[in-house]
């Protein structure tokens, strides 16, 4: 029984924290807020040099071949630094999809390029119904002689503007879990157009992607036709774990910022950190965060090693961290007082990220109901 981190894992976290303090300070996040794509290819390249974009990619395909737990520890640090960009979608979701469902040709084509940071992937699955269950996947892919003809719309696709390839959930037949297929669609394919959806959290850009008679070859099919849901279910678990880890880091950072601020801000001739009203808020935040950390570790470990409990564990982590991150940032803003409400102060980066993370890939109520079902209540 060892519910702890290895030396290598602790080192990974430390070096990630140092790297991000240097390469992605809040001034950098602020600068990207007003960039058209909200993305720095330069930072992405540097993260690739650290091996992060290929962290999950098997060594045979140019990656480090590490585990989801390692990735969760890295994502915790990226959440701390509220790193803007498509990292989770490209280096976790699309990467895992290829690892689990890709043909050897697809793996050979994409994994080394994703690992090196040369290519970027994203995941297009939501539609205007905002459903993340199988029944929500209705984008039609009509079978043709050489492949598919795709027509319709995907919504809230992260960083579609900078992605080279869109992992797209389509319906090739039937309804429900059967008949869902996954296609790797080149963003430059004729008939595919994207429209930016203006969003409060400028570190997580989202797009509407319009497919109008997009011709896709057979070689773009990931896995077996009509059986895409199996891969997708695994990706949704991965996304839940990834966002929970990001939220954990962000919540911890928000707590630290708030506590640091109350130690230097004086009112009534004393540091406001000496007021119990604020101390107890801070204690509540720490009491939320500490046990939640164990849930993130467990969910990542279950994803790696305990397949029978992986989905339940992912939902436990996502449900809890969604709630904890939002609550923590709300309290952190309040502990800053008026300054925390301004654009000029950094606090709003985390406040907005918390809300994005809360609703993406299933909100609190969604995951609680899923827990209830998996537990057989």
């Amino acid at each position: 029984m060892d519910f702890g981190l290895s030396e290598e894992q602790e080192m990974l976290q430390r070096s990630a924290r140092d790297f991000l303090a240097r390469e992605c300070p809040s001034t950098f996040v602020r600068a990207l807020y007003t960039e058209p794509d909200g993305f720095s290819r330069e930072l992405h390249r540097k993260m690739a040099e650290q091996g992060w974009t290929g962290l999950l990619v098997p060594e045979a395909h140019g990656g480090l071949g590490l585990s989801m737990l390692d990735m969760a520890l890295l994502l915790e640090e990226m959440g701390r630094a509220v790193v803007p960009g498509p990292f989770i979608f490209s280096s976790v979701l699309v990467t895992l999809a290829l690892m689990h469902g890709g043909s050897s040709a697809q793996k050979k084509t994409w994994l080394p390029r994703l690992a090196s940071g040369e290519a970027i992937g994203t995941f297009a699955f939501l539609e205007d119904t905002d459903r993340i269950d199988a029944a929500g996947m209705t984008l039609k892919a009509k079978k043709t002689r050489d492949g598919y003809l795709v027509s319709g719309t995907k919504l809230f696709v992260p960083f579609a503007a900078v992605a080279d390839v869109l992992l797209t959930a389509v319906r090739t037949s039937g309804r429900g879990e059967e008949g869902i297929s996954l296609l790797l669609i080149d963003r430059a394919t004729p008939g595919l157009s994207i429209k930016s959806l203006d969003i409060f959290d400028q570190t997580r850009r989202v797009y509407e992607v319009e497919f109008s008679n997009v011709v896709v070859t057979k070689s773009a099919l990931l896995g077996t036709e009509g059986e895409g849901w199996k891969i997708m279910a695994r990706l949704l678990d991965a996304a839940a774990v990834a966002l929970a880890a990001d939220s954990l880091g962000g919540a911890q950072k928000s707590l630290e910022m708030a506590v640091d601020y109350t130690k230097v801000r004086t009112q009534f001739n004393r540091p406001i950190a000496s007021f119990q009203a604020l101390k107890h808020l801070a204690a509540d935040m720490a009491s939320d965060i500490e046990p939640a950390r164990a849930l993130v570790w467990y969910a990542a470990h279950a994803f790696d090693a305990l397949p029978r409990d992986a989905s339940r564990a992912a939902s436990l982590a996502k449900a809890r961290l969604s709630e904890v991150y939002s609550r923590t940032t709300n309290r952190a803003v309040q502990m800053h007082g008026g300054i925390g409400f301004t654009w000029e102060h950094d606090m709003h980066f985390w406040f907005k990220r918390a809300k994005w993370n809360e609703f993406a890939f299933g909100d609190v109520a969604f995951h609680r109901e899923r827990i209830a079902q998996l537990e057989g209540f």
């Binding site: 029984m1 060892d2 519910f3 702890g4 981190l5 290895s6 737990l69 707590l255 506590v259 109350t262 130690k263 540091p271 950190a273 000496s274 007021f275 119990q276 604020l278 101390k279 107890h280 801070a282 204690a283 509540d284 720490a286 009491s287 500490e290 046990p291 939640a292 950390r293 164990a294 849930l295 570790w297 467990y298 470990h301 090693a305 305990l306 436990l316 449900a319 809890r320 109520a365 995951h367 609680r368 109901e369 827990i371 209830a372 537990e375 209540f377």
Partner: protein, 395 residues
């Protein structure tokens, strides 16, 4: 990260489980059906602890020379988990085992260790804790029970309160004021008081549950030998903090909370609420999942601390939140049970139509007592913010 137990630990767990199956008190000898102050209950409880000790399942992590086994914390954790899963009675000598024992091992003289520790283990002597006073609760260091050193004896006058088990305890480890002129933390001493000393009166206090689990203890010129002082004179606050530390950092076995959660889910499945099982009501499902999530978080949080302790690392702020989070979680589980039971919720043990023999309403009250006792939630928050987050003291 590896959540499997070693072969040796698995084998050990099986041994414990088999032993418990054979040796757990039978229904007719059940301890829980008796009132806390019933002498028969005390006797059965002592016998049970003695039996456990003889089997090698008590204070396993204590040093060998004082009756322990120098076992790693994993062994004791396995025993504690199995005891809870078997719904075994709690240990009547718990405060001696978890508070006095570790303090004596750390601060006591060799003579004190040899005199007291063996009987702590076997429950031949039961200990109670004499800390709180009517005027000193959260501000424990303001305590005023006076112990005046006269010759070779302390003469003790004053009153303690909320003293669990005092009615049948043999000894009390007690904080007394030995220097009334010194700053409050520096005039306190930690002494051991024989409860049969003339001048001591114990009066039961009835809790909101109707039980008399704790007491008031009055001292009227009670004379205590100077040899019963633990640590230095006037240094009792530091000695006591060693025990407080043990209390707060006791690896809160979350097994009991997990059992309560399982029982809650069972209740939600079986009890009809507004025409259908509570577990089919979407709102109740949300609430159940929320509680289950928090229970699971505390389970893995305790695994993490267990790992830290085994590697000799301090769990730090992680351990400081245990008491606050754990006690409130237990109370919230009971509160949801009451919500599910609705009109049936207030029925008492033995009542016609009572559900689960009234356990939920009883525990709902009892667990609120635990939110307050041993440092209120508000005091816990002071500790977390000051020691854990480095925020300054108030006032």
């Amino acid at each position: 990260m590896d959540l499997t137990y070693s072969k040796e630990d698995e084998t050990f767990r099986k041994e414990v489980r088999a032993w418990l199956k054979k040796n757990l008190p039978k229904k007719d000898k059940a301890i829980s059906d008796l009132m806390p102050h019933d002498p028969e209950r005390v006797k059965r409880s002592k016998d049970w602890q003695h039996k456990l000790f003889d089997a090698g399942y008590v204070a396993m992590n204590w040093p060998k020379e004082y009756g322990g086994q120098d076992a790693d914390v994993m062994r004791q954790t396995i025993v504690n988990e199995e005891l809870t899963l078997a719904r075994a009675p709690g240990l009547v000598g718990a405060s001696g085992l978890t508070m006095l024992g570790p303090t004596l091992i750390q601060c006591g003289t060799e003579e004190q260790k040899r005199r007291y520790l063996p009987k702590v283990l076997t429950a031949d002597e039961i200990w109670c804790q004499g800390y709180s006073e009517p005027g000193s609760g959260s501000d424990l260091a303001s305590l005023t029970t006076r112990a005046e050193l006269v010759g070779d004896e302390f003469v003790v006058n004053g009153q303690k309160v909320w003293t669990s088990n005092a009615q049948f305890s043999d000894w009390m480890f007690c904080l007394v004021r030995t220097d009334p002129d010194a700053p409050k933390h520096r005039g306190i001493s930690y002494i051991l008081i024989d409860m049969r000393t003339p001048g001591i009166t114990v009066r039961p206090l009835v809790q909101m549950t109707g039980d008399a689990g704790f007491n008031e203890v009055f001292f009227d010129n009670a004379r205590v030998p100077r040899a019963n002082l633990v640590g230095e004179l006037h240094q009792g606050w530091m000695v006591a903090n060693a025990t407080l530390f043990h209390e707060r950092n006791m690896l809160g076995s979350t097994t009991r909370t997990q059992l309560m959660m399982q029982n809650l889910i069972r209740l939600a499945r079986s009890h009809q609420r507004y025409g259908k099982p509570a577990a089919e009501d979407p709102l109740m499902r949300q609430k159940l999942s929320d509680l289950l999530t928090r229970v699971e978080a505390m389970k893995y949080h305790s695994y993490r601390q267990l790992t830290d302790v085994m590697h000799g690392r301090s769990p730090g702020i992680g351990a400081m939140v245990n008491k606050l989070v754990g006690t409130e979680l237990n109370h919230d589980i009971c509160a949801l049970a009451l919500e599910i039971m609705n009109s049936y919720a207030p029925l008492k043990k033995g009542a016609v139509r009572v559900i689960d023999n009234g356990t939920w309403a009883y525990e709902f009250m009892f667990t609120l007592g635990l939110v307050i006792g041993g440092g209120t939630s508000q005091i816990q928050k002071n500790i977390i913010s000051e020691r854990g987050l480095g925020m300054p003291k108030s006032g």
